[in-house]
């Protein structure tokens, strides 16, 4: 069984990263300072891993139908998400395949997220319940 769910696309701009920094309390300058990001060898400012995961959480909540239907959520950050300083920023696409129905009746999804065609997550999955 390998049903694909409808991909969810999210736009990400520098303003989103600034807002997320404030809301989450993660003020690491690689997420807002080009100077700092390039000085540590990054291509430029990158999204917080946890911002990307928050978008995955939105996609999974959408597929599950409710926030309390998400039983487990796990990701591995495999590549950074560079966010250029432009109006349009970049785009993250979250996709999922139904892998199995567990003994408890939960649905296991395998998750991927891509940015500019690169997979930015690996080994990622969610467990969702019927509400």
């Amino acid at each position: 069984m390998s049903v694909e769910l409808e991909p969810q696309t999210f736009r990400v701009t520098r303003a989103d990263l600034v807002r997320y920094a404030g809301a989450s309390g993660d003020f690491n300058p690689i997420h807002w300072s080009e100077r700092t990001a390039t000085s540590v060898g990054l291509p430029g400012v990158i999204a917080h891993g946890m911002f990307t995961m928050a978008l995955v959480g939105r996609a999974v909540t959408h597929w599950a139908g409710a926030p309390d239907a998400v039983v487990e959520l796990s990701v591995r950050f495999s590549k950074p998400v560079p966010v250029p300083d432009t109006e349009e920023g970049t785009e993250v696409v979250v996709t999922a395949k139904v892998k199995e129905i567990t003994d408890e009746g939960h649905t296991r999804l395998s998750l991927t997220a891509t940015c500019n065609g690169d997979k930015v997550l690996s080994m990622s999955q969610a467990l969702i319940s019927k509400r």
Binding site: S24, G49, F51, T61, A66, P67, E72
Partner: protein, 148 residues
């Protein structure tokens, strides 16, 4: 420099309770573009069976990331924070976080690995109410990049 393996299995005392505010949930939800009413409107949330506005699934990091600082920043463990990147993140939920929760974190170092010149530190944070009701368990794997 390798991390101190003697930290594996060590747990820290419960943190001071974190009071989950309605406005903090709204702010977090706005920041990630989550516009559904149950994140913003207490009446809509109650109609869906939540005690108050409900937090999006990754909201607990706003609590657990600061809570794990007591582990990661312990000089005896040996983490050079300027070389840290986020490797893995996992949440296992008993129930969603809602406004009004007072949540306590207990940190445990689950694993320290050395591989390919890098160090891997996995922490588990058990998040419960003050009364001990399980809410969510959060695993974080940090990678301390070696000096190549």
């Amino acid at each position: 420099m390798p991390l101190d393996q003697s930290f594996v299995g060590r747990s820290w005392p419960p943190t001071e309770p974190y009071l989950v505010g309605r406005e903090k949930i709204r702010e977090f939800a706005r920041a990630i573009g989550a516009t559904d009413a149950e994140y913003h409107d207490p009446e809509a949330a109650r109609a869906l069976g939540y005690a108050d506005v409900v937090a999006p699934p990754t909201f607990p990091v706003a609590i657990t990331m600061p809570a794990t600082r007591e582990v990661v920043a312990d000089p005896a463990l040996g983490v050079d924070y300027s070389r840290v990147v986020h490797g893995d993140q996992r949440f296992a939920y008993s129930r969603p976080v809602v406004a009004g929760d007072a949540l306590v974190c207990v940190n445990t170092v689950e694993e320290i690995l050395s591989r390919g010149g890098h160090e891997f530190l996995t922490t588990r944070t058990d998040v419960t109410t003050e009364a001990g009701e399980p809410v969510v368990t959060v695993w974080q794997k940090l990678v301390v990049r070696g000096e190549a």
